[in-house]
């Protein structure tokens, strides 16, 4: 990896200042960024570590939502988000134990890998992504593979996940990487059901509107009978064709409803 300057600010304000520099890049737990830099696919001049900012650490529950600090590792969410079991389970299923001790919620959402788990939780929960300047609804946040509404130098300080009546996340793992080949997050709220799919689409995480409508009328696996997502626009690679992934979306959604 190319060399860089490393800074570890103690406050959000200091981090924002450091990120205003030329070719500065925020660093969460580094579980994606450091491998990317090793491959020389990224070469920032300055890395601004966010893990030393106390205000961005920890999990709390308020106003019917689980609030996760942007720099909170997955293992801490898994252990402390008991008020939202599906979210805790999702965090506890990312990567492996050592990766979960470093990787962060904000880092995952800022990167928006099309096969990552957190985007499904955020979109499926209708979460609010809180940054140093504003609050962004999950529906407005994800803009395609590795693309988000974040501006240059904007930092995710907190993510607020409204707690649904019922929810479940089902991940069909790509066995080598443990990323989702297809992952489906289903959440039933008083005013309707949200279904978010990760791993499948070339556009990244998306909501499956037909399934949401069917499940809002009848929250049962049978309500999904006959519903399919088109294979067009699904990721095709050596791990699975687009048609395979499209089929898995239906299967995993049924499993998530059954398990919720």
């Amino acid at each position: 990896m190319y060399n860089f300057d490393f800074v570890k600010p103690a406050t959000v304000a200091e981090a924002v200042e450091a990120l205003s520099g030329e070719e500065a890049q925020a660093l969460g737990g580094g579980q994606t960024l450091l491998p990317t830099m090793k491959q020389r696919l990224a070469s920032p001049a300055t890395l601004v570590s966010l893990t030393g900012i106390a205000d961005m650490q920890g999990v709390s529950q308020k106003d019917g939502a689980i609030c996760v600090g942007g720099a909170t590792p997955h293992a801490v969410v898994a252990a402390n988000a008991g008020g939202y079991p599906a979210l805790a389970a999702l965090a506890g299923g990312i990567g492996d134990p050592a990766v979960r001790n470093r990787g962060t919620a904000g880092g995952s959402l800022a990167n928006n890998d099309p096969s990552a788990c957190y985007p499904a939780a955020a979109l499926g929960s209708g979460a609010t992504i809180v940054t140093n300047t504003r609050e962004i609804a999950a529906d407005d946040y994800f803009e395609g593979m590795f693309t988000t509404a974040l501006n240059e130098g904007e930092i995710i300080t907190e993510v607020r996940f409204p707690i649904p009546e019922k929810a479940n996340y089902q991940k069909f793992e790509q066995p080598a990487s443990r990323f989702a080949l297809v992952g489906v997050f289903v959440a039933k709220f008083a005013d309707g059901v949200r279904v978010a799919v990760t791993g499948a689409s070339e556009d990244g995480v998306f909501r499956w509107a037909e399934a949401e409508a069917a499940l809002s009328a009848d929250f049962s696996p049978a309500a999904l009978d006959g519903l399919t997502v088109p294979a067009d626009g699904m990721i095709s690679d050596l791990h699975g064709t687009g048609a395979y992934r499209a089929h898995l979306v239906g299967v995993m959604t049924k499993r998530a409803v059954a398990a919720a």
Partner: protein, 161 residues
């Protein structure tokens, strides 16, 4: 170069590192603690697992400067000063939990992290926890047996499936 300071196996250490210096490079090249191995260098294999502030991390995917001020434990700190193996290391020896030994430092450190949080794990829990540690020799059964034994449990029922 930037000065980094941390505690490694109970001793205060320091050194000059670049921004890009990985924790595993600092441990191996800076401190001569070559028990921590670099297998894949892509955070897949787990041969580089050490503990940072009490939790297991892959030291090939953490910068040395991220560990500034941290309390780090490596495989070298596991045995007693007179060389007596700790209970996990001894169990690996007793149950033939290694063949070539390359993955063993990471396996032992992951096992220690597991047993700290879960003193009596089931066989399934052990296998699940070791998802991030790859062994190409043993087929894992004897590693699982060793960890069961280290937790004081009967290993007779561990499947040789």
């Amino acid at each position: 170069m930037t000065k980094v300071e941390m505690t490694v196996n109970g001793k205060s250490v320091s050194g000059d590192v670049e921004g890009r210096t990985l924790l595993v490079q600092f441990l191996r090249d800076g401190l001569g603690l070559t028990g921590t191995h670099v297998g894949c260098d892509t955070s897949q294999c787990g041969a580089c697992v050490v503990h940072v502030n009490g939790v297991a991390v892959k030291s090939c995917t953490m910068l040395a400067l991220e560990a500034d001020g941290a309390d780090v434990s490596t495989i070298e700190g596991q045995a007693a000063p007179d060389g007596t193996l700790n209970v996990i290391q001894q169990a690996f020896q007793d149950h033939h939990g290694l063949q070539c030994g390359f993955c063993t430092p990471g396996m032992v450190m992951s096992a220690a992290a597991l047993l700290k949080d879960n003193p009596k794990p089931t066989e399934a829990e052990i296998r699940h926890y070791l998802e991030g540690n790859i062994c190409r020799c043993t087929g894992y059964h004897n590693i699982v047996k060793a960890i069961m034994a280290a937790s004081g449990q009967d290993v007779g029922a561990v499947a040789a499936e």
